[in-house]
């Protein structure tokens, strides 16, 4: 777009992406609006980086990831992807058959391990199916590869023939990670990949994701709600609120000098692991927000401590302040 500086090696170039879910009449009475789960979102991801997406529940993170994977067909915009084999393709427009090929290069780790693992398949199938299809592996060779993958995510290879029901939530999540990494992908969309893991497995898994990134030059789109994790692993971070990116900056800048009032609210809501600093959490709990038709106001206005008249009359435009892209009328002034 207009004054965006071209980046050296862009693997993903998302422009004006929208995903509006039609609202069924039965569900919302007579309203004929749409849920604007993703609303005009643009960003670029560089090859080899970890691009974080944070934001509260319902802000459209998963929907955005599902659009990139083309599990959902976006209702507007482009998703440029620099494919290894096929050059630059628009994932929003490719044929289904081509997308199926691209699913080797672009993989997703799903948020809910419960519903993303078929309960009727044993681990060897869950992880190995894609290898059977993509590389024609079978028998002992397949078992060996799957066993290696399991080891690399901290699972014991003996579990090859067990079914998902026999695992705890964290164990299931690691099966999902092993599955996503099986085809040595280029781009991994990790939707809350470590959120369900306990601290020590989480640390191991984050370290593992970093090792794999270095080894294979992986690019991650890392969707998460744990800001400490995001700060630890991401190079750049986009903050989403009600379907829009309200702030985008490199990690240091974002955490050291958050510009958008929502980013600030988010950072101050992080519980500190020290009972003596037990803060007045009640002040930080936010009223839930939801997409309404706010063509003429800032979506954050209802919760923003800095909201003024202008904010309720006019949608803010993206502005660049101190290295950050901020969607706020008063970015840099407040």
């Amino acid at each position: 777009m207009d004054d965006q500086t071209p980046m050296d090696d862009v693997i993903l170039d998302v422009r004006d992406l929208s995903m509006h879910f039609p609202v069924r009449a039965g569900m919302f009475g007579k309203t004929h609006s749409a849920v604007r789960a993703v609303d005009n979102v643009s960003f670029q991801v560089r090859r080899g980086e970890t691009f974080g997406i944070v934001g509260e529940s319902g802000s459209g993170k998963t929907t955005l990831g599902r659009c990139i994977m083309r599990i959902l067909g976006p209702t507007g915009g482009e998703i440029g992807y620099a494919s290894e084999g096929a050059g630059m393709v628009d994932l929003a427009a490719v044929e289904d058959a081509q997308m199926r090929d691209l699913w080797r290069e672009i993989r997703m780790i799903f948020q809910d391990p419960q519903s993303s693992l078929n309960p009727r398949l044993p681990v060897i199938e869950l992880v190995g199916q894609v290898l059977r299809k993509a590389e024609g592996l079978k028998g002992a060779a397949l078992a060996d590869r799957v066993a290696d993958l399991l080891k690399s995510v901290g699972l014991r290879p003996e579990i090859l023939h067990r079914y998902p029901a026999a695992f705890s939530g964290g164990q299931r999540q690691r099966i999902g990670i092993a599955r996503a990494l099986a085809t040595k992908p280029q781009l991994v969309i990790a939707d809350e990949a470590v959120s369900a893991l306990d601290v020590s497995i989480q640390a191991q898994t984050l370290n593992l994701l970093q090792d794999l990134q270095e080894e294979f030059g992986l690019t991650y789109v890392f969707i998460a709600h744990d800001l400490a994790v995001v700060e630890h692993i991401c190079d750049r971070v986009a903050v989403m609120f009600l379907g829009e990116i309200v702030e985008l900056a490199d990690t240091e800048t974002l955490f050291a000098a958050p510009r958008h009032p929502y980013t600030r609210a988010l950072l101050s809501a992080v519980p500190v692991p020290d009972p003596r600093q037990r803060s007045d959490r009640r002040l930080r709990a936010a009223a839930p927000a939801e997409v309404t038709d706010t063509a003429t106001a800032c979506k954050f206005a209802a919760r923003c401590p800095h909201a003024r008249d202008l904010c309720r009359r006019q949608r803010p435009q993206k502005r660049t302040v101190g290295g950050a892209e901020v969607l706020c009328h008063f970015a840099g002034e407040i």
Partner: protein, 344 residues
């Protein structure tokens, strides 16, 4: 069993688990998911249970409500629950299908699960599911139950609850599904809420909101909470007491300040070290506890943590099993602190 026991003079805990063992009899062998857990939940207080994936937290919680799936079953120990009328019952001795335990489930003790889809059926609208739960446990008309359900959806922070009442689970975001399930658990005002990683999948602002809601209900109804979590930030924020589990056992327990300020067990210490903290950017990798939880079928002899412990003492830790003992401000099961048994 279900007979009344004399009311003790000390304020009795709401729930006392002693020597609880829940094993799974699989084709490959016996998985000792819970293998001698001791802990108590005081009335109106919050106990946080910490521990790595697979160490038996969820199975312990499910044992309390007697909803352990086959091939698992309780093979030892007791779960003493003190009911509202002051009587004590041993939940571990009840039949999992008895009317008595079904009465306790939901109305006395409610549970929020780690994965929302385990308690939210996929094909029924969420409103209907909540109303059914209410009608099962509270005397109300259908219309009242509907209003209660909508009020609860509102309190857990679901926007436009009246419309969402008609939504199917798949139409909600992950976080909203979680909140719908929480609404279902809280709509019967339980005396004890067991929450298995309830906010793990939630962003910080929603998490703050849910924790507030739980805190409100604690105050309003004197509800006690057993919160299973691995988020030490949450523990520091809400816990009064903390129990740390490893391989089916409690290895350390104490009040929240002692656990954070004077952790004694090497496992507790390692857990505290491995958290990424905001503003503390580790240059390279996070300090992770080395190795993994041993295979549940091959439990180490002696101390369960010895295969990963930096302080492992050969001849002691692989020979004797440390028992929980009070040392200073916490109860700990480790030979760095406890006397080694003289023989055998």
């Amino acid at each position: 069993m279900t007979q009344p026991t004399p009311i003790p003079t000390e304020p009795a805990p709401l729930l006392r688990i002693a020597g609880l063992k829940t094993h799974f009899f699989t084709d490959d062998g016996v998985v000792k998911a819970v293998d001698g857990v001791d802990l108590t939940v005081e009335p109106g207080k919050t106990l946080c249970v910490l521990g790595e994936s697979g160490c038996g937290k969820s199975i312990m919680a499910r044992s309390i409500l007697r909803i352990v799936d086959r091939p698992g079953r309780i093979v030892g120990g007791s779960i003493t629950y003190r009911a509202a009328d002051g009587r004590s019952v041993d939940l571990a001795a009840m039949s999992p299908t008895s009317a008595a335990i079904r009465q306790i489930r939901g109305s006395d003790i409610a549970m929020i699960f780690q994965e929302p889809m385990t308690s939210l059926g996929p094909i029924q609208k969420i409103g209907k599911q909540i109303v059914e739960t209410i009608l099962l446990h509270r005397r109300m008309s259908k219309a009242e139950a509907k209003e209660t359900a909508i009020e609860m959806l509102n309190r857990v922070g679901i926007p436009r609850p009246r419309e969402r009442f008609e939504a199917y689970p798949f139409e909600l975001s992950g976080g909203m599904r979680q909140r719908a399930m929480i609404a279902m658990a809280l709509c019967c005002q339980p005396r004890l809420l067991i929450a298995d990683e309830p906010t793990t999948a939630l962003d910080v602002t929603t998490q703050a909101q849910i924790l507030d809601l739980i805190a409100d209900l604690k105050e309003e109804f004197g509800m006690a909470v057993m919160l299973i979590t691995h988020d030490l930030g949450v523990v520091a924020e809400v816990a009064e007491d903390v129990a740390v589990m490893y391989l089916g056992k409690v290895v350390e327990k104490g009040d929240v300040y002692s656990i954070f300020e004077e952790p004694k067990h090497p496992y507790t210490r390692a857990l505290l070290e491995s958290v990424p903290r905001l503003g503390v950017r580790h240059a390279g990798r996070l300090p992770a506890i080395e190795g993994m939880v041993p295979h549940p079928l091959v439990r180490p002899t002696g101390c369960p943590f010895r295969t990963r412990c930096r302080a492992f003492m050969p001849g002691i830790c692989d020979v004797h099993q440390p028992e929980l003992q009070r040392q200073g401000r916490t109860d700990v099961a480790c030979f760095l602190h406890n006397p080694v048994p003289a023989h055998g």
